[in-house]
Amino acid sequence: MRQAPLLILGAGPAGLAAASEARAQGIEVLLLDENPAPGGQVHRAVGGFYRPEAGAPGADQAREGLRLIQAAAASGAECRFGATLWAVQEDGVVSWSEGGRAHQVQASVLLLCPGATERALPIPGWTLPGVMGVGAAQILLKTAGLLPEGRVWLAGQGPLLWLYAAQLLDKGVRPAGILDLSPPGMNWRAAWHLPMALRAPGYLAQGLGWMWRIRRAGIPVIRAREVAALGEGRLSAIAVDGRTFPADWLLLHDGVVPNTQVTRALPGCAHIWDQAQASFRPVLDAWGNTSLEGLLVAGDGGGIGGARAAALSGRIAALEAARWLGFLTADQRDAMAGPLLHRRAAELAPRGLLDAIFPPLPMARVADATVVCRCEEITAGRVRAAVALGVQGPNQVKAFLRAGMGACQGRVCGPAVHALMAEARGVDPGALEPLRTRFPTKPVTVGELAGLAGGE
């Protein structure tokens, strides 16, 4: 079987920066990503279809992304796209699918940079065509230049919602309105974190700039509690606290959560509940080491920190990989990582404020009839009924109801089901075991598996 000294999963900011840094230390690098091109979600199609003009919302970020993509391409790392990782064995054998075939390598060090997914925001009717994530709509803009037409509503909270609304305005699309679901009283909660956040004031200025742009354009910003999607076969209207508005698109956003689909499937890889970010994340040291030897995590997959922090974490993890593989001594690693660790701390300074302003929306608001698990079409009411019967946590509710057992394997519903059960039981979410995942973490055909017997 082929050997890979360092295998990096994910070509977002963390993976790209890690690949460049590892190559600079002389390590042979194999980089896999299931997307057709590098960039991850935040730098998606940068340098390809997505080339925002200077000064456009998101243009600074795209410029940083282009630098990362170009550096990784020039580094000599072997980059494979359209490559979907689906299993990691304890002996370091990694399996993925690419071009309809299964492949395997034995990795000495595995660095996972799986990024984040949008947090589910279950509302009545959110399975209707015409309802999608704000991040999904932004991906359409970046990868294909697509702009939503008609009455476009954005609902939820968080920086991405305001950035995308500003990007729409910049492209001449006027959203019908923003439904601000952020909980009231944010100023008091946030004030505590403000001094820390001012260590990196650029983020605040940028966010306020997007919001100002929306308000100056006269786009209605409605503070709302309840939003529902209505329609037969397709979204046609939304109900907002009892009022109905015609709608062609409803874009939802409630922040992002670490993608821990692979780390949770690895026996012995410890995870902890992050109270501030209301999500599980793998236990990591400053270098990105997990509790399993030779397995590192960098970027948002280890806790949400944003693209710049992710890139720094990728470089730090690459230096640690270099130490593991004997390319650097511990002293050399420390000397090289020092400035990176300082810069990362500065980049992470505003997180407390962001987490305080935008805590995930409480599941208590989710009506019993609302679907939470989109794959198996399981409602909040059925999850609550299962809790009333004595079901303790997400892994049992999966067995009882199949919630989290469908094709997405809990990628979308996992955090929502978890929060719903914690609220129904009246316990801290950290007291419930996270949904266990299983390899293959993405579907693989029997034909592909059979092909592995052929020797590759």
Binding site: G82, P129, R374, G406
Partner: protein, 95 residues
């Protein structure tokens, strides 16, 4: 629907009908740009679904491509002449 801010450069078929597309963009993007929002009917209740996450996480954009079912339209790159169909229910065995 979604409108294009750039040109299309090829054609693909959806349920036998020809629609414009651009090489390399995702099949999901091409369909949305052609006004298609209903990609499949669920296996559980037969309810209509379209793309939701556009990044390979949610599996709501499953379609049949070239006779192969259960493919995530958001991860399938467009190639000229690609033939895709709506997926009704679950993937049939052997398909």
């Amino acid at each position: 629907m979604f409108r294009r801010s750039g040109p299309s450069d090829c054609e693909i078929t959806w349920n036998g009908a020809t629609i414009p597309a651009r090489q390399g963009e995702s099949l999901a993007a091409a369909l949305l740009a052609a006004g298609v929002t209903h990609f499949r009917d669920t296996a559980v209740s037969g309810s209509p679904r379209g793309p939701f996450c556009m990044m390979g996480a949610c599996f709501d954009c499953l379609v049949e491509v070239g006779g192969v079912a259960n493919l995530q339209a958001c991860l399938v790159p467009v190639t000229p002449g690609l033939e895709a169909r709506m997926q009704i229910g679950a993937r049939a065995a052997g398909n």
